[in-house]
Amino acid sequence: MSDAIDIRLTVNGEPVARHVPARQNLVDFLREELGLTGTRAGCEHGVCGACTVRVDGAATRACLIFAAQLDGARVDTIEGLSESGEIADLQAAFHARNALQCGFCTAGMLVTTAELLRDIPAPSRAEIRDHLSGNYCRCTGYHAIVDAIETVARQRCAAKGGT
């Protein structure tokens, strides 16, 4: 039992070892400790979705999990998803459709969207809106985001040669 703890985890594919205060949440750990400032704190009570990252393959609110909990875990942030190219088509579609303006919600949107398309490869507009219902955007009004995701879903399905 301790106020601070050693953790070893993988962040964007790289091993990381740190000694962290127990109370430090994952957003602050990523931003302050690792300099990965792409993940943003928008509310710190789990509502806005700007802090969404991937923990052990699942979209997770980084403000609602402590770094101390992540010994042995795999964390992927927007930086890692960008470098691996996994969301390149999403980024291109968002760019072409102007599905972002100030960009503050965008990392969380993209991580959430990546999981949507993994679970529902051909979502309807209603399903897209439903899945994004926990990601706050103030600039776009969401319509362009839905368009961009629909486009990518269509492209991915076509690439697979199916419907």
């Binding site: 039992m1 301790s2 106020d3 703890i5 205060p21 127990a22 109370r23 949440n25 602050d28 710190e44 009570h45 789990g46 979705g49 969404t52 699942a58 979209a59 997770t60 609110r61 403000c63 609602l64 999990i65 402590f66 101390a68 909990q69 010994d71 959430t112 999981e115 949507l116 809106r129 439903d130 899945h131 219902s133 926990g134 990601n135």
Partner: protein
């Protein structure tokens, strides 16, 4: 307080936790200093909770606990992380029915064909819980232990006659769901106890379920909701179970309304059931709906729930 007088209520500090001192009266959005231990076994958890029942909090999904910590609505000296304990997240057939482990995540429950078959009410409720990222971490046991009055799962466990297994260093006990929820964020759990599994009986033949909630935005805390089951045959509802949530500190079973549905054609008994609801519910109002509106909405959901059960629509 800039957070507002309702913040403790909104973010789930009630029951036993309300007795803990709120460490400061100011706004904060960083968790206070805390200790942390990652438990490797239930015995380890029991030992810690037995030693300091008022100072330790169990950390499971964290989707309710961590916001409360971030806002410094409570400041336990120690967090006991139970996520690493093996064997607590199972979803399996059990005695003709179903056993859901306390650490089963909402997302996994939503994907489970077993639950869709053996507890369709749960399957219907899961998509209403918050948002995908929250459902990836939030746990079944955690939701019950938190006992948020606007939460979906407590009402479902009452409607399905679930039995909640809790354990501590003093042993295990089995608590029927209808006795588990006691008040605002208050359950039958003693400070040294942990939920470990929830059992659901084999569903009766011809049982149907209907789950609905009224919510301002997808994933919000519900204004009001209904978890309903009945055995349905030719428009007649037998043993209807109508459990409302968002109407007070805990899920309320509308027994008088269910009785008023009687043995006849349910669709013709709706008005009588709506009237009887006055005897079942005495809702507290909140910022979104005063007491009269809550009662009105309950009547509306009652009618819709009965129609859904009779019509077979989910």
């Amino acid at each position: 307080m800039a957070r507002g007088p309702g913040a403790r209520e909104r973010f789930g500090v009630g029951g036993e936790d309300a007795k803990l001192p709120a460490p400061d009266e100011e706004d904060a959005l960083k968790a206070p200093r805390l200790g942390y231990v990652r438990a490797r076994s239930l015995d380890e958890v029991f030992a810690v909770l037995a030693a300091e029942p008022d100072e330790a909090k169990v950390l499971a999904g964290g989707q309710s606990l961590v916001p409360a910590l971030n806002m410094r609505l409570l400041a336990p000296r120690l967090l006991v992380d139970i996520n690493g304990i093996a064997g607590l997240d199972g979803i399996a057939e059990h005695g003709g029915g179903l056993r859901i482990g306390a650490l089963a995540r909402h997302a996994a429950i939503g994907r489970s064909p077993l639950i869709a078959r053996l507890a369709p009410l749960i399957h219907q409720a899961i998509p209403h819980i918050a948002h995908p990222a929250i459902r990836n971490r939030g746990t079944f046991g955690g939701s019950l232990a938190q006992a948020d009055p606007a939460a979906e799962l407590p009402a479902c466990t009452v409607a399905l006659d679930a039995v909640i297994h809790v354990a501590s260093a003093r042993g295990q006990r089995a608590i029927p769901a209808r006795h588990f929820f006691k008040g605002l964020y208050e359950t039958a759990l003693a400070p040294d106890e942990v939920v470990i599994a929830v059992d659901f009986p084999e569903p009766a033949s011809s049982m149907r379920s209907a789950f609905m909630e009224l919510v301002r935005r997808r994933g919000d805390y519900a204004m009001l909701g209904l978890a309903a089951t009945a055995r349905v045959a030719s428009g007649v509802l037998r043993e209807p179970r109508l459990v409302f949530f968002g109407v007070g500190g805990m899920p309320i079973e509308a027994a008088m309304a269910a009785a008023a549905l009687g043995e006849g054609a349910a669709l013709e008994r709706i008005a009588a059931a709506q009237q009887a609801l006055d005897q079942d519910l005495d809702p507290a109002g909140d910022l979104q709906a005063d007491a009269a509106m809550k009662l009105h909405l309950a009547r509306v959901l009652l009618a819709r729930g009965v129609r859904a059960l009779v019509g077979g629509a989910a």
